[in-house]
């Protein structure tokens, strides 16, 4: 951790830059923005003149060394405050620079259009040369150069750089999962993407602008705090100024250096000096946790959070339902059910299908299946399966299967109906398996709750944040998940 921080915070270039900046920031016009440090700077200047005055022969102000030390201490205070701010800023800048590098240096495999046909003429250009409407190709391992929409293909994309979601997501053409973001990495397959944003407007650009703090505004609380600090500073200006006549009444002359030292000690120098650094580092920390704070105000608002509304699928749960159990119908061998379930899922590429095979523990290749015909899932039949020989295996939603069974004149066993109900009430999804229109049993699919989510909610609750789950699931499922995850409402 330590070495890591050293690399991050105290990189040589960063420090060098910050030191340079801390002198540049001595400019009074810059200091004026922070009233506390501005007064300290004035104090420093006064001390400088006092030192010069003593050198010119003034006797009443004490020794030169003493005054010069005070001057040095004040100067160091100023420089340190500037240094802290510059360092925080430099970190943000370094981050922005690396982002900008992504934007500019990512090679894009641009597709040149000849007539109305796409030919395989691919030129490698810099991502910054892509304009809206251009088309480029990304293959496994490529970084997507800019924001766009997939017009052809499907790919898994690692979006962790932007969203923080560690699991890769699937992006494919058509539908609502077709957009890709610059800076993310394609992990598999090949996609053809059309650029949707003009240069300078992409997501990355916006992020760079945020990180750089170009649009950094003072937050409401920061403004109020500045008022408080300025108020204190004013009080102590009054205190120090009025001390002069008091002292002259008491016939105890006080040298200028003592007034200034007293003043700097009294005013809230530390908070005043580090205030802007605190603001920047707050945003920086959020960024490191893969949270993009659009402004300091957003960070502040996050602190005022009382209720957190959460989507169920993908947030509280992994999102992919997994098979967790097999329930055989009465009079059916469980192994037979498992075998049939595995067979029906042989060609099923969905996570559910894969998980059934996984749970079944049978290698589909080992099963004797001749001339299989795979039936794909459709929204109409709400089932999928496999046909081979004169065996017909289907798995699908309860009501669709029930219809099918009853149409064929068979009876849906009551034991299985109970299993189905039980699974539903436990928050799972039942998949009924049929062999030649006879019910074999039910597969239980469970939406898996992400590990550690319970503890996270517990922590949120301690912070006084109430969690509320919003979902389109049936109330029973929702209730079950909510209880499991520890959601408040």
């Amino acid at each position: 951790m330590r070495s890591n921080r050293k690399e991050g915070l105290f990189k040589r270039e960063l420090v060098a830059d910050a030191i340079k900046q801390s002198f540049v920031k001595l400019n009074p016009r810059y200091q004026f923005r922070s009233p506390v440090m501005f007064t300290v700077e004035i104090g420093t200047m006064v001390m400088m003149f006092v030192c010069a005055w003593i050198l010119a022969g003034e006797k009443s102000q004490g020794s030169f060394t003493y005054n010069f030390i005070i001057f040095l201490i004040l100067l160091l205070t100023l420089l340190f405050a500037n240094f802290a701010e510059a360092l925080a800023e430099a970190r943000g800048k370094a981050q922005a620079a690396s982002l900008r590098k992504t934007r500019e240096d990512t090679p894009a495999k641009k597709v040149e259009i000849l007539g109305n046909m796409y030919v395989n003429e691919i030129n490698i250009v810099s991502s910054s040369q892509l304009v809206k409407g251009d088309v480029f190709i990304c293959e496994a391992g490529d970084i997507i150069p800019t924001d766009g929409e997939i017009i052809e293909g499907i790919a898994t994309v690692d979006e962790s750089a932007i969203t923080g979601e560690s699991a890769p997501v699937v992006r494919e053409s058509g539908g609502d999962k077709s957009s890709v973001t610059g800076g993310t990495k394609v992990l598999s397959d090949k996609i053809k993407v059309q650029v949707t944003t003009s240069p300078g407007e992409s997501f990355l650009d916006k992020m760079i602008a945020l990180v750089e703090g170009a649009s950094r505004q003072k937050t409401p609380n920061e403004i109020a705090l500045t008022i408080l600090l300025s108020g204190f500073t004013l009080v102590f200006i009054i205190v120090c100024v009025t001390l002069q006549p008091f002292a002259s009444y008491a016939k105890t002359p006080i040298p200028i250096s003592a007034y200034i030292s007293l003043f700097v000690c009294l005013i809230p120098t530390t908070i005043g000096g580090l205030l802007s650094a605190i603001g920047i580092s707050g945003m920086d920390r959020a960024l490191r946790a893969n949270v993009i704070a659009k402004s300091g105000k957003a960070v502040e608002t996050a602190g005022d959070l009382d209720v957190l509304l959460l989507d169920k699928t993908g947030t509280i749960t992994i999102g992919n339902r997994k098979a967790t159990n097999f329930y055989a119908a009465k009079g059916v061998d469980k192994d037979h059910l498992i075998k049939c379930a595995v067979m029906s899922s042989m060609a099923d590429e969905t996570p559910e299908g894969k998980s059934i095979i996984e749970l079944g523990g049978i290698n589909p290749q080992s099963l004797q299946v001749e001339n299989p015909t795979f039936i794909k899932f459709t929204a109409e039949t709400r089932s999928s399966g496999i046909d081979f020989g004169n065996t017909q295996i289907r798995k699908g939603a309860y009501d669709a299967m029930k219809n099918k069974v009853e149409k064929a004149g068979n009876v849906f066993p009551t034991g299985t109906i109970e299993d189905v109900k039980k699974i539903s009430s436990n928050g799972g999804t039942p998949l009924v398996v049929l062999e030649n229109n006879v019910v074999l049993g039910v597969i239980e699919l469970q939406d898996i709750i992400k590990t550690g989510i319970f503890e996270r909610f517990e922590r949120l609750r301690k912070m006084g944040v109430k969690t509320v789950m919003v979902t389109g699931d049936n109330p029973l499922t929702a209730k079950y998940i909510a209880e499991k995850a520890g959601v408040d409402d």
Binding site: A224, L228, I238, V239, C240, T242, P245, F246, Y249, L262
Partner: protein
């Protein structure tokens, strides 16, 4: 237990026992609920409102209320100025007291208008009965009513809702006078009559003493005056010696009654806030903070006074009664010490001993009480001052827990902070800058011309100090502190009836009265207008001891840091010289 200490404890406990039910009663009065005094006062109030053509049902915003407050105060000021400047020919002047000089009249009128009662005249020779009753006593009632009405507006604004209608100022004001101040005053005055306080419109009495000398004894409608002087935390005495005068405070019992009367409403206002806004726990926290501060000031003072003066001890004289210089034998050192702190933390400023002769520690504690000015504080305004510190504490506390600061479900933002900061700044600014001015003149012994002439007719500024060195500085600091806190007690020993002191304290008085009323009311009014956010688990809890400590710390930091350098050159330096 030492009977003197017991007497002090009795005073305090009696006040607390009376204050809780009174707080509930006050909350009902402001809430417009039925109270037992309705029978007497409903017809009277209706008559007032009919005559003045005010509809008490019309609700006002905070700005309207403040405009009403300022106009009505201006009219009172002009009326009393007229009384004081023309009292020689106005009726009820059996002792033929002369008109006041213009600068003294302005100072007196302002000082009574702002509930301060800094008196740079002596009641026996300075004012007629007409001015006492229709000018000064009138102002003692209405200034107290004004402060309470302002507090009532703040109470109303702090309720859990969003509104810009904060009730009718005139209604609050009149009800404060008739239903709260008047009944208590009648009771207190009656007790004083039995204890021997005069209540007459006859002039100076002449009597022959045992030794055969002829004595002139001033008298007048004292009992009525003393009652409102304490109940309204005004503090302006009928006689120059204030409550040290045997006719104004004749016995130990009357001393207890006056003590209870002056702390009663400041206590009760805190509880009234709890009952009115249904925040009883918060009210107890506030009261706890105030009491902690009060005890921290009062205990060392009592100890210092009981131990007596080390200089006298060095001379080999034993002081069994403690430091009795400037104190009344019938009260003793303990009760006087308790009084001196009570009268300064609340803004009464009446005295039953001469503060100038107290020990330096006591003098410092008295000044600290006025510098903080909200350990109880004056009727109504004490709560308002306290409210400012609460806002500051809420803000600092809110930032500490990382949330936008809120109080009572309302966000505290930059605008409120600006106002709170100005108000908190103003008090030290007025005290320090004017003391600096005075000590500059004194240090340079400036020729003040018309502004100042001492008894010998010399115009040099050094002449206004009867005591040199640190004690003289304390006198000047005390005078402005007392003015800025609207307290009105004096360290005395200062030649203060002259244009310089009359006018400069007059300016301080005016600013330090009306800004600290307008500020909190404005903050409360702005907050009332905001969206109400119900408290959640993450909200900074204000009704806890921790928050109480935070408020206390904020007060101490502001007061200690701002005033410490000044105090160091006054009472602290004096104490170091003594030991």
């Amino acid at each position: 237990m030492n009977p003197q200490i017991l007497g002090v404890v009795v005073m305090f406990v009696a006040t607390l026992l009376l204050a809780v039910p009174l707080g509930r009663y006050i909350a009902k009065v402001y809430g417009g609920q039925r109270v037992w005094t309705d029978v007497f006062f409903n017809p009277i109030e209706r008559l007032f409102f009919k005559a003045s053509r005010i509809d008490p049902g019309i609700e006002m915003g905070w700005k309207q209320s403040m405009i009403a407050l300022l106009t009505i105060n201006l009219i009172w000021f002009l009326w009393v100025l007229f009384c004081l400047l023309n009292q020689s020919w106005l009726p009820m002047n059996p002792d033929h007291n002369p008109n006041m000089t213009p600068d003294l009249a302005v100072n007196t009128a302002i000082s009574f208008l702002v509930n301060c009662n800094l008196q740079q005249y002596s009641g026996e020779t300075g004012v007629s009965y007409f001015s006492q009753v229709y000018g000064l006593m009138f102002l003692q009632f209405v200034s107290a009513g004004t402060g309470m009405a302002a507090a009532a507006i703040v109470f109303n604004a702090l309720k859990d809702r969003t509104t810009d209608k904060l009730g009718n100022f005139y209604n609050y004001f009149l009800r404060s006078c008739t239903r709260i101040l008047l009944p208590i005053c009648i009771l207190v005055a009656a007790i004083h009559l039995f204890e021997g306080t005069p209540m007459t419109f006859k002039g100076i009495d002449t009597m022959t003493s045992v030794q055969g000398d002829t004595m002139h004894v001033s008298r007048g409608p004292v009992a009525a005056f003393v009652a409102i002087k304490h109940v309204g935390t005004n503090g302006g005495g009928f006689f120059g010696a204030n409550s040290a005068h045997p006719l104004e405070n004749p016995s130990y019992l009357s001393n207890i009654v006056q003590m209870v009367a002056q702390i009663l409403i400041p206590f009760a206002m805190v509880f009234a806030f709890g009952f009115y806004c249904n925040k009883k726990r918060l009210a107890w926290v506030f009261w706890g903070v105030m009491t902690t501060g009060f005890l921290i000031l009062v205990v060392p003072t009592i100890i210092a006074e009981v131990h007596g003066n080390p200089y006298i001890a060095q001379m080999g004289i034993s002081q069994p009664g403690g430091n009795m210089e400037g104190k009344e034998v019938r009260f003793g050192a303990t009760a006087s010490a308790f009084w001196s702190i009570a009268t300064t933390v609340i803004s009464t400023g009446s005295v039953n001993g001469m503060h100038d002769s107290f020990m330096p520690v006591s003098g410092m504690n008295m000044m600290l009480g006025m510098m903080i000015n909200s350990f109880y504080g004056g009727v109504g305004v004490g709560f308002l001052n306290f409210f400012i510190y609460v806002i500051l504490a809420v803000f600092i506390g809110g930032l500490m827990v990382g949330r936008t600061p809120e109080f009572g479900g309302k966000k505290v933002e930059a605008r409120e902070m600006k106002i709170a900061m100005i108000i908190a700044l103003f008090h030290p600014f007025l005290i320090l800058s004017f003391t600096a001015l005075a000590s500059y003149f004194a240090a340079h012994d400036t020729n003040m011309g018309w502004w100042f002439a001492d008894a010998a007719g010399k115009h040099n500024a050094g002449g206004w100090l009867n005591n040199p060195s640190h004690h003289g500085f304390s006198e000047m600091l005390y005078q402005y502190t007392s003015s800025s806190a609207n307290n009105g007690s004096g360290f005395e020993g200062l030649a203060d009836n002259n244009p310089f002191w009359n006018i400069s304290t007059g300016i301080v008085l005016l600013f330090s009265r009306f800004l600290p009323i307008i500020g909190p009311v404005a903050i409360a009014g702005l907050m009332a207008n905001k969206k109400f956010i119900p408290a959640s688990g993450g909200t900074l809890k204000t009704d806890t001891g921790t928050f109480g400590m935070l408020v206390f710390a904020v007060k101490v930091i502001i007061a200690a840091l701002a005033f410490f350098p000044a105090l160091a050159l006054g009472p602290i330096a004096e104490w170091m010289k003594m030991h």
